[in-house]
């Protein structure tokens, strides 16, 4: 009798304790995942556009989650004030001259803020400190896109110039006297230089992105199997990048040649015949041009392929909005 009552009490007790343990374990795991029980400090940044970033999204440093977005507010001048909550233990990596960047957590993932840069010499960020927001094409597709556009433009200009040189329509004098032409050449060279720089950083960025992406794929292991097995998209991306690199290299070479030529033109030191009579140089110029042409076409095709790959469809749709 009494024993029965006590048995019930014990069973109810055990039952409740077990359930509470499950609950607490759940809360703890959740806290672990959300890093809720880490000590944190606030950091702010101002970005021109957050592209759908939400409160609760992740903040990364070197590909490691170090915090979450605490709040997003519009400032008076129409920019976006993002307050992040960063784990205290990550503070030692964040300096006052570190900068924030908007990115995505994978190709179809959430928006994230990445923190990077910062010289070791500069002091660490303080609570509520402001980080520089880095605008600009942070997005690998954008980089690829603009790079290819630039390439096309540059190639066209270069072809123009060199065509004229080669056909002799532009004799040296004509070329020299034709100030428009000269200006054009100057401009083109400038342009090429700028594009080159952009491509350089851009492709570096793309490579970073891509390697981060593929590391993530590898790390997630079997779960993202399907993404990994979808090698077409991966190949497309890496092909584009190799292409871009190759194009860039040729372009560098070519522009060096051109520069040399124009320098000699400008300085008037060089014998006029050197450039014009130098068949080898002309031939070189021509083949380089062809190279650029074909590689930029190739690049375009690859980009198109990437764009039409299934996995990116959603991405471009989003971009369209």
């Amino acid at each position: 009798m009494k024993a029965g009552k006590n048995r019930q009490l014990i069973i109810v007790g055990i039952f409740s304790v077990l359930a509470v343990i499950i609950l607490v374990a759940g809360v703890l795991m959740l806290g672990e995942q959300h890093k809720s029980f880490e000590r944190k400090f606030p950091v702010k940044t101002i970005l021109p556009d957050v592209n759908g970033l939400k409160v609760g999204d992740n903040v990364w440093f070197a590909g490691v989650k170090i915090g979450i977005i605490k709040s997003i507010d519009l400032t008076d001048d129409g920019r976006v004030l993002v307050t992040m909550s960063i784990e205290t233990k990550a503070r030692k990596h964040i300096h006052q001259d570190s900068y924030t960047k908007l990115g995505t957590d994978g190709l179809i993932g959430n928006k994230i803020i990445t923190i990077s840069g910062g010289a070791a010499a500069t002091p660490l960020i303080a609570d509520n400190g402001y980080l520089r927001g880095n605008a600009g094409a942070s997005d690998m597709m954008d980089v690829l896109d603009s790079a290819s556009k630039n390439l096309v433009q540059i190639t066209k200009n270069l072809r123009d110039v060199s065509q004229r040189i080669l056909t002799g329509k532009g004799t040296l004098t004509a070329l020299l006297n034709d100030s428009v032409m000269a200006g054009n050449l100057q401009y083109t060279l400038q342009d090429a230089k700028g594009a080159m720089a952009q491509i350089h950083t851009g492709s570096g960025k793309v490579m970073d992105n891509l390697s981060a992406f593929s590391t993530r794929l590898n790390r997630s292991g079997t779960l993202v199997n399907n993404l990994l097995t979808d090698t077409t998209s991966y190949e497309n991306i890496s092909k584009s990048i190799t292409q871009l690199k190759a194009t860039m290299d040729t372009l560098v070479l070519f522009s060096k040649n051109l520069k040399k030529a124009s320098e000699s033109l400008n300085s008037r030191q060089g014998v006029t015949g050197v450039l014009l009579n130098d068949e080898a140089a002309a031939e070189h110029l021509r083949s380089t041009l062809n190279n650029i042409d074909s590689s930029s076409i190739k690049l375009k095709e690859d980009l198109e392929a990437v764009r039409h790959n299934f996995l990116f469809r959603g991405y471009f749709k989003k971009k369209g909005n």
Binding site: K5, Q8, L9, I11, V12, F15, S16, L18, A19, V20, I22, L23, G26, V27, M29, L30, E32, Q33, H34, S36, K54, V55, G56, S220, G221, T222, L223, V224, N225, N226, L227, D230, F310, L311
Partner: protein, 235 residues
């Protein structure tokens, strides 16, 4: 219902009876709830896989299931089971006590039948339902894990690491609130129907039946309202 709140905090407490009811509500429903939760986990995972696989996104399964189970399935299914099992039981038990004048007999023996019968039962369902929901969620996730493990060869850790980020504290909190509210609903509806059963055996059957139907209906209405309210808090 008002009477419940006026009497629940007033001594003397029917501690023994409450424990007994907790035992009946909680422990006795555990097997049923666990089994259902386990099957729900497996079946839900299995059913969700094809549509996610179509997008090549089976990696989202743990997250999807965690959300589904924690946010919706565990509180709802558990409470419906409790409504069916415990609600009908309470309705029938109190109903038959009513028609055989046992409740009246308690009253004339100068004890408070409301406290003894109603308060203890409502407290029991209100306390035990969240606990059952915890079990259900746990077992459901376990079932889902087994299914995912079988098909995608995922490790336990990876499953939970992918599952948990999808859940927020708000989800967890909302589910707890829900299960408390549903448990209270089941208890109070069963007691109300039983306590107010009209004379005769037919009244007992009706009390049990109506207790289940009404509490299930109320649970769905409350689900709707709570989800609407909770969504106000979602960022």
């Amino acid at each position: 219902m008002l009477r419940f709140f006026t009497e629940v905090f007033r001594p003397p407490y029917e501690f023994r009876e409450t424990i007994k009811q907790c035992y009946k509500v909680g422990y006795k429903s555990l097997a049923l709830v666990s089994l259902t939760g386990f099957i729900t986990g497996i079946v839900f995972t299995n059913q969700s896989r094809p549509s996610l696989a179509e997008f090549g996104a089976t990696s989202w399964l743990p997250g999807l299931i965690a959300i589904a189970i924690v946010r919706a399935l565990a509180p709802l299914i558990t409470s419906l089971i409790v409504a069916g099992k415990v609600g009908s039981n309470i309705g029938a038990e109190l109903g038959s006590m009513k028609v055989t004048e046992q409740i009246e007999a308690m009253e004339v023996s100068a004890t408070n039948p409301f406290k003894f019968l109603v308060v203890s039962r409502v407290v029991a369902t209100t306390l035990m339902n969240p606990l059952l929901v915890c079990y259900m969620a746990f077992v459901g996730l376990l079932g889902a894990y087994l299914n995912v493990h079988q098909h995608e060869d995922t490790s336990f850790l990876a499953f939970f690491q992918h599952g948990f980020p999808s859940i927020s504290f708000l989800d967890l909190f909302a589910s707890l609130i829900k299960s408390v509210v549903y448990g209270f609903t089941v208890g109070i509806t069963g007691c109300y129907q039983g306590y107010n059963a009209t004379k005769g055996t037919e009244g007992v059957g009706k009390a049990a039946n109506v207790a289940v139907v009404v509490s299930m209906f109320l649970i769905f209405i409350e689900e709707l309202i709570i989800v609407l309210i909770v969504n106000q808090f979602r960022p």
